[in-house]
Subunit: 134 residues, 2 copies
DNA sequence: ACTCTTGACAAGAATAATTCTAATTTGATA
DNA sequence: TATCAAATTAGAATTATTCTTGTCAAGAGT
């Protein structure tokens, strides 16, 4: 948390609240999740602040913006390189830290300069499997 | 195209136009792209029809809904298993058909039943690289 | 040929997520 | 502590998508 002073971020109470909520969070929350949670302690919190803060954090590489969920963006404070496993029913997302060799052949590369990759695994989580076979 | 008769789809002119546009299309178009293109030949085409048709095609596994682009869904008529490479600048998407070994360890699996996976490669395409280094 | 049923279409309203605007306030620094 | 750029706020605006409602068309059975 201390580290944010160094990257030219003004440390406002709102930002500290958002950072505090994100720190160590494994839920991959959406902007709304964050807004709801932080609003409890901070009733004047605005949605704009949540989005603004997430955007500046993203620019600085402090959070990842996930596009796994078709309906909304979700955010990941875990900035170590990793992949994701998502439950197709409840949209729960968990981190996968295994290493995979994802070299891409010259012909596949199509002239692109490759700068990264990300694997999405799809599945059904234990809770949803139990809930009902369907 | 013939094959759609078999899957219980009523073949209306609108659907044929959409199917015709999608067939062999490598652009991974958005609903709007499809709407615009098909509207030219079909001025009364409605957005609802585009979305409805895409949804029924998706249900039947005839198109994939891609969540790679944070701003909108994009659709892929290539239903062979494959991965994608996206240009971070212009959002161009190209198909990658290489095979990767993406076994997931029991501990990573976290009790999920795995049903699929998808790799997103990120990069800068040739055109964008030339356009300006930035 | 007539009627029924069903599925598809169109237009626009409604919704949901996100971004923008403009006015105000605040944190960091001199 | 005065200053000022940056941050916050509320709400409007925008964008993508879904929903609603009325209409229409094709095929099934009479």
């Amino acid at each position: 948390m201390e580290k944010y002073k160094d990257i030219g971020l003004k440390l406002t109470p709102q930002r500290l609240a958002i950072l505090g909520y994100l720190e160590g969070n494994k839920e991959h929350p959406s902007a709304e999740d964050i807004y709801k949670a932080v609003s409890k302690k901070f009733p004047t919190m605005s949605f704009a602040t949540v989005y603004n803060t997430l955007e500046t954090l993203r620019e600085r590489g402090e959070v990842l913006e996930l596009t796994i969920d078709p309906n909304k963006k979700r955010f990941d404070p875990n900035t170590k390189f990793h992949h994701h496993l998502i439950c197709l029913k409840c949209k729960k997302i968990i981190d996968i830290h295994s290493d995979y060799n994802l070299d891409i052949s010259k012909s596949d590369r199509a002239g692109f300069e490759i700068v990264g990759n990300h694997i999405e695994f799809y599945g059904i989580c234990q809770k949803c499997k139990k809930a009902h076979g369907s």
